[in-house]
């Protein structure tokens, strides 16, 4: 392989900026990729959780409101800079948090989140296949959650298959998404048709919540909105790294509205209606009862494969980030070994703590305390403070020459904003107990956290930011200097 090809491949994998002509995805391809990511079975899980808090009418409203706000406020500060510059999301984040601060954010937002979701989706794959086996053997639907060794083995197998596909790089992911995404949308519409075949839409809208947490309907509604906003904000670690593969800025943004918002909302509404109609929030259970043996098997097969598609997208974007931020030791590992390293912990988790599947909901809301805050910091930094210009030369300069060196590689202003936003979130809404503080019923928790973090980032940078401390202020034409930092050796592939 020539050096030119190696360098292009290194750019594709996130070591250097991808040039516009090298990018893979147009509008529809990115829409397919986003749909495949969004229409995953976590949408059914979130829909099921929504059905527990509110009835279907309020649930549909909560899903739409929560998702559009979450997805929009995530796509703006992540997809637009990545789509403009073709730079890996966490490499670009050096401008906001500093080199080490970006690593810290990656560890908090991506490693934990990805490991958790890989385990949850792997377990869901396991339960789906386990349900299919039970249906085939006995002709009877599963009615109780199962966490046996077989489910864990199947979950581990799904994680291994995911790793194998991701190890082949983005071209194989593109191929996978192009086939799976339309099929998944079609199958989801079939699910909706099956539900509506058994109940009228009017009847469904009148169903009560499965397990309303309080007697206050407005509070229950806002908890449902918050859960869906958390789902929307949970795209923060992933969207930027997918967007950098799209051909330009507009192509990096609008597919999120069609793909992530549209597909996730559709999946969650189907999940909510199914849960409400069948009286069980777990889709691996209600889908087996919706249409008899044949349809149950097809439905569970759909869940299983939809999970693998989403796991592939998550793992790809996470490994791209890990590759940039891991430091010299992990940075010298080949792509294949990094993928394998990422799969180890989820495999351990599905054997050691299979209950993570049933507790996904608390895990999801906790992540919003972080993701809503990160989105707020990004909005203030990219749109207001930098006026949509980031110096790539400073991003890739060696640490001692870069204005993004900050203090030891950490930007104290952004870290203060991160702490402030997360603290506001937990004060307004406790994700562990669902206890709501002042203002929650009107404002949710994610929005105050978003605004607080954005304000602290803006005010702190106004006070302390400068050309040398963060490259803030009037833009100066770039010098052709540059002591650029050695990046990961593409020969070590």
């Amino acid at each position: 392989m020539s050096n030119a090809e190696l360098f292009r491949q290194a750019a594709e994998r996130g070591d250097t900026p991808l040039l516009p002509g090298e990018r893979l995805w147009g509008f529809w391809e990115f829409t397919y990729a986003n749909s495949a990511l969004a229409i995953a079975t976590w949408a059914f899980l979130i829909g099921g959780a929504t059905a527990a808090f509110v009835g279907p009418r309020e649930g549909i409203a909560a899903i739409i409101i929560g998702n559009i706000l979450g997805v929009l406020l995530v796509a703006l500060p992540t997809c637009l800079p990545s789509g403009k510059y073709g730079v890996e999301q966490f490499t670009l984040l050096r401008s906001t948090f500093g080199r080490n601060g970006s690593r810290l954010v990656y560890a908090l937002a991506v490693v934990l989140l990805t490991l958790g979701w890989l385990a949850v989706l792997g377990m869901m794959f396991g339960r789906s296949v386990d349900g299919m086996i039970t249906l085939l053997k006995t002709g009877e639907a599963v009615t109780e959650p199962a966490n046996g060794v077989l489910v864990s083995l199947l979950a581990a197998a799904a994680i291994v298959v995911t790793g194998l596909v991701v190890a082949r790089g983005p071209t194989s992911i593109k191929f996978f998404n192009m086939i799976m995404s339309p099929a998944l949308v079609l199958l989801m519409l079939v699910m909706l048709w099956l539900i509506l075949d058994q109940h009228t839409f009017g009847d469904l809208l009148g169903l009560p919540p499965l397990a309303a947490p309080t007697d206050d309907k407005r509070l229950n509604f806002m908890i449902a909105v918050e859960v869906n906003m958390a789902a929307g904000f949970s795209w923060w670690p992933y969207l930027g790294n997918l967007a950098r593969l799209s051909k330009n800025q507009r192509t990096s943004f609008w597919p999120n509205i069609v793909g992530v918002f549209g597909a996730a909302s559709l999946g969650e509404i189907v999940g909510m209606l199914g849960a409400a109609a069948m009286g069980n929030a777990d889709p691996t259970i209600w889908m087996t009862t919706i249409g008899g043996l044949g349809i149950g098997i097809v439905a569970l097969g759909f869940i299983a494969f939809a999970n693998v598609t989403s796991m592939i997208n998550i793992l790809y974007t996470s490994v791209v980030g890990l590759r940039q931020l891991a430091g010299p030791v992990l940075g010298r590992l080949s792509w294949d070994w990094l993928v394998a390293a990422f799969c180890v912990v989820p495999i351990v988790v599905v054997f050691a703590a299979p209950g993570i599947y049933d507790g996904f909901f608390i895990f999801l809301v906790w992540t919003s305390a972080l993701n809503a805050t990160l989105a707020g910091i990004g909005m203030a930094d990219y749109f207001v403070l930098r006026r949509q210009h980031i110096s790539l030369r400073a991003v890739f300069a060696s640490p001692e020459r870069s204005p993004f060196a900050y203090w030891g590689g950490f930007n104290p202003i952004a870290l203060t904003a991160l702490f402030a936003g997360s603290a506001v979130y937990v004060l307004v809404f406790n994700p562990q107990t669902l206890a709501a503080g002042p203002g929650f019923t009107l404002l949710s928790a994610s929005m105050p956290a978003f605004v607080a973090a954005a304000f602290v980032q803006w005010a702190g940078t106004q006070l302390f930011g400068s050309r040398r401390f963060g490259d803030y202020g009037e833009r100066i034409p770039a010098e052709p200097l540059a002591v650029v930092e050695p990046v990961v050796d593409p020969a070590v592939q």
């Binding site: 739409i64 706000l69 330009n248 790539l392 770039a478």
Partner: protein, 57 residues
Amino acid sequence: MQTTTDREREQDLELRLRAYERLADQPYWPGAMTALDYWLVLAMTLALVIGFYVWGV
């Protein structure tokens, strides 16, 4: 000590950085979001939030 590959890699990165600096110096960035995009997304978001709140609650 830098190898030939290291030097070529630095040159590759330099070329990529210059390509984006040239784009930044142009009056229009190809495929950039326009004011119309931002207004559209704002209008759509407000319509969805207000519309579904009124319908659902």
